[in-house]
Amino acid sequence: MRLLFINNDGGGFADYINVTEGMTVEQFFKEQMPGRKAEDYLIRVNRQPVPRDYVLQENDRVTLTPTKIEGAQQ
């Protein structure tokens, strides 16, 4: 099953990836972001917040945005 995955952690790449049918958002997060905590991210599917047990559909757009990003001084 194909999804558009936008990972705003680091380079902010957006790309199509293949995942298993019936995968939930929670499972998807654990697979794509091993060792990270879901509460440290804004997780949106098709631009909407969804519950962790939401089952992903074909062509869904999943966005992960960290809630904490370190700035700097120029």
């Binding site: 945005t65 904490k68 700035g71």
Partner: protein, 345 residues
């Protein structure tokens, strides 16, 4: 925003994204020209080196080698900058409907979303930001749509404090990572650029908000510990902790101008605690100011005391000693004068 405003805003954003795509190609051209110029400079230096070698001019040859070395050091930077522009896969400018969807999503993510067509700006207001118990208030993140095409030269958005609580030492710094309304993106730079290039407005504003909600203690404009500064005990000037001195007697903070250094022990003292040598007027700390002339009890520094006396008392004592010596000399008989001898009859 109502539906009409949404469509109008989306149209303007779509136009701006189109301009941005063009500007990427222009920037590629510009960087390529710069890179080509560098290669031409290298070719020129190479010819010079050849000439210097053929004439057996070692000093000129060395000079050429240094110049070539310096130019070669610039090549990796120019090359990587060019490559990062070329590597970007071409993104289609999003359809109007997708941009409208982005704007609707933005309105759900942020409470206050404002589009000003005449000013070509789209802005959101964050919730009040507090970092380590230091309050900064809410910030307006304003994207200047007419400047989006300049993304490869400068940041096309501003971060404006709605309830400014700037650093005590610099009004322009309203957040540890914001100076003059410009955010230093740090780790978020690449993701912010990608979000803007692809028209993912909600992601862009969310990323900026995430940076505002994070304190990086390794690289702030002003550290949180220095945010409210410290006031000089003597003159009230507000300074950061690194610029302040602390009186060794009362522990109050003083600025560089008001701090005094004890001439005898080198300790820093404030204007309130400082004493002065009554002879040379140099500064003394309260402890060293206990040193006094044993005769007149004037407060003296070590260098003005001689045998425990101030210069005046020392001179007086020396004068007295001289006088005493002189008087003693007058009373003693002179054994060198001839004696009168009475001879018997």
């Amino acid at each position: 925003m109502n539906d009409k405003e949404l469509v109008r805003a989306a149209g303007m954003i779509q136009q701006a994204l189109g301009d941005l795509r063009k500007s990427r190609y222009l920037e590629c051209m510009r960087q390529l020209n710069l890179f080509a110029c560098r290669l031409q400079d290298l070719t020129r230096e190479s010819r010079k080196l050849g000439l210097a070698i053929s004439h057996e001019w070692p000093a000129a040859s060395e000079q050429c080698c240094k110049s070539i070395d310096s130019q070669l050091n610039e090549i990796p930077y120019s090359s990587s900058k060019l490559q990062s522009l070329l590597d970007r896969r071409q993104k289609e400018v999003p359809k109007l409907s997708l941009i409208v969807a982005e704007l609707k999503s933005l309105q759900e993510e942020f409470e206050d979303v404002e589009f000003k067509g005449q000013e070509s700006s789209l802005s959101v207001v964050t919730e009040p930001i507090t970092l380590d118990e230091v309050y900064f208030g809410p910030f307006r993140v304003l994207l200047a749509l007419d400047k989006l095409g300049e993304l490869y030269h400068k940041i096309p958005y501003y971060v404006i404090a709605e309830e400014p609580h700037p650093a005590a030492t610099d009004e322009a710094i309203t957040h540890p990572h914001v100076s003059n309304e410009v955010l230093c993106e740090g780790d978020g730079a690449a993701a912010i650029r990608a979000a803007l290039e692809e028209g993912r407005l909600c992601d862009f504003f969310s990323l900026v908000r995430s940076i505002l909600n994070t304190y990086n203690p390794d690289s702030p404009y002003v550290a949180l510990s220095d945010w409210d500064g410290v006031a000089c005990y003597d003159c009230g000037y507000v300074m950061d902790h690194e610029s302040s001195y602390y009186c060794s007697h009362c522990d109050n903070a003083v600025c560089d101008e008001c701090s005094r250094v004890c001439t005898d022990c080198g300790e820093v003292v404030c204007g309130n605690c400082v004493s002065h040598c009554e002879i040379c007027d140099r500064s003394l700390c309260p402890n060293c100011a206990k040193t006094k002339c044993s005769e007149c009890e004037s407060v003296c520094c070590e260098s003005c005391l001689s045998d425990g006396l101030c210069p005046e008392c020392k001179e007086e004592m020396e004068n007295e000693d001289e006088e005493q010596e002189t008087q003693t000399t007058d009373k003693t008989p002179d054994t060198n004068e001839p004696k009168t001898t009475i001879v018997g009859r």
